[in-house]
């Protein structure tokens, strides 16, 4: 508690970071040159740093346990926090381009770990540009779930190449997803929802989940309820558009 008083960015009652101290711009240019550190290859990802309880020392990262879920553009990390307790044995990471937002999620995870000993050890966040560096973090077929929740819509046609779901980038997502892995997308912008659906539908390495499969997947419900953006849409009575697809082996 004493520490919290010294640090006004943490809430006095919960010990969690307060969002108002992490105000960030809503957008960040994904095409500009990045100057933050990037692992040279997936072998260089520091698991010890991200998951200290799973990897007690940096020498013991034998590669037996790997990150399986990636939340691309995790924002303030609402989904990750929900998933962390739902899949306590699965390592998951959020990827966010805006460094202030990443800072917030980092603090949030640390605070949750302190408040709930033994929990939230399987979740972490990294500042990166996932449109450029996905292969630097994950090996081929490493991931079982990828999330793209409420991405930047980039309305202008000129800016469509900045969208995080595109036919070219789906090739890379298909590369890091294992066969059977699932890609979840949701947006409150109808035009973008259409776009993401079309991209996934046209891609030979993805197929849509049936409505029964969607029904039984516990994660699908979290898409609109767990994230900060989703809650905002629900508050305003807005509509959301989902596209959930499975990675399949390409037909020869």
């Amino acid at each position: 508690m004493l520490e919290n008083e010294a640090n006004p960015t943490l809430s006095k009652s919960t010990g969690l970071p307060r969002k108002r101290f992490y105000r960030a711009r809503a957008h960040s240019n994904p095409l500009s040159d990045s100057h933050f550190p990037i692992p040279i290859s997936p072998h260089h990802v520091d698991y010890f740093l991200h998951y200290p309880q799973f990897f007690p020392s940096s020498d013991q990262t034998d590669g037996s346990k790997k990150i399986q879920f990636a939340d691309i553009g995790c924002g303030f990390g609402g989904l990750l926090i929900s998933l962390a307790t739902l899949f306590p044995e699965t390592l998951m990471i959020g990827m966010e381009l805006r460094d202030k937002v990443t800072e917030y999620v980092k603090e949030r995870i640390l605070a949750l770990r302190t408040a709930n000993p033994g929990q939230y050890q399987n979740v972490s966040v990294v500042r990166t540009n996932s449109m450029k560096y996905i292969p630097n973090y994950f090996e081929k077929g490493q991931l079982s779930k990828m999330f793209f929740l409420f991405p930047d819509p980039h309305f202008k046609e000129k800016n469509h190449r900045r969208r995080v779901i595109s036919r070219f980038l789906l090739d890379e997502y298909a590369y890091v997803l294992q066969v059977g892995g699932i890609i979840y997308t949701i947006t409150d912008v109808e035009e973008l929802g259409e776009w993401m659906k079309t991209c996934l539908q046209d891609h030979p390495m993805f197929e849509a989940l049936t409505s029964e499969e969607l029904e039984v997947d516990p994660v699908v419900k979290l898409l609109s309820s767990a994230t900060e953006e989703g809650q905002k849409v629900a508050r305003n009575g807005g509509q959301t558009f989902q596209a959930v697809y499975r990675r399949i082996a390409p037909s020869l």
Binding site: D33, I40, F168, D171, A174, M205
Partner: protein
Amino acid sequence: MEDAPTELGDSNKDTEVAPALIAVHPSQDSVATAVGSDLRVFDFRQNCAVSLKDDSSEGSLHRDSIRAVRYGAHGKLLVSAGDDKLVKVWSTLSWRCITTVCSEKRVSAVAISDDGSYVCFADKFGVVWIVDLDTPDGQVVEFSPDGKYILSADRDFKIRVTVFPKNPLDGAHEIQSFCLGHTEFVSCIAFLCTPEYPQGFLVSGSGDSTVRMWDIISGSLLDTCEVGEKAGLLGSNGREAECYSAVTDLCTSSDGSLVAVAVQRQVPENFLLHPFFPCQVVPIRGGTFIPTSLQMCSSTGLLWMITGVSNLRGSEYPSLARVRVISGLKKSNSDSNEREPNVMDDNDIPGGAKLLEKLQGSLSYSEEVFLAAAEAVKTAMSNLLIKKQYSSEKREFRKRTRNDKKIKH
């Protein structure tokens, strides 16, 4: 520190120079060089310079700097492309333009599939396009060739290996692997095939002054050669450590016994060339010679090199080029690994003065212009490939002058 040249290159696109390029016919029937928008070909069969003919509706040669020129594996085709967004496919028999393809963006690289039925080209947005030469009107569709895989390299240190699809016109979606390990832009890639391993290894050169060898199926790094360091041993003037010497180009011999690498270095007499296994530095005497492009002829074993630029400001020659050839790279006998590389005298080069006159545009240039040219190439290369660093004031200034910002009234 680096701000000044960056700003310069940034604000004034006209100062962008294009390095000279060279391509050699697989059986050395002809040699082609590209300097600026000028594509020059010398035909050894006729022993004369070639004038290229283009009867297509476009009716013209390249209008802007050529960025890539290459022969097909069997030498029937020559393809050239560049900043004018045109990809031209030439027949090496008639020296006529077979097809002209208009690209959406400026083209940065080209390749021809081994069977000669597909031409692919890449732009700076990272899209690889493929042209089916069998369809009459040269239809442009995304993605492209190399037997089983398509390889592409980028300035974000990556090499991507994509599976070449059954029906390429539907696009290539399956990625085989990524070759990760370089710590700067990847400037050149080539295959090295040995009799024991006919599928071949990939070798790549980069701005981090290393040459690396890869297994493309798994994407694993097999070997790294610090060529910058090796070349530094010869110069030995201690300034090496501060700046990387970028690898500008590399090429491999057809028997897989040799990789020739061109390295950029600061001091004069710097631009050297070395075979890889075992590493050997070949100093090029007779003045400054910093190759911008290399190619080895598979039949004769001669290594052709060119240096030069176009659009060079403040010089009496707006574009210049210098061609040199290294012989003695072929093993004298199969038992020994001994090689005696020898930079050939101008008169001994096949085609002689006639060839040089065509390919260089002139027989001789003075020393100083090549130094200036080397500097210009280096600046152009770093502007193009090295990530721009801005100080915080510069960044603020650039944000203020953004043209997409809404103006409040």
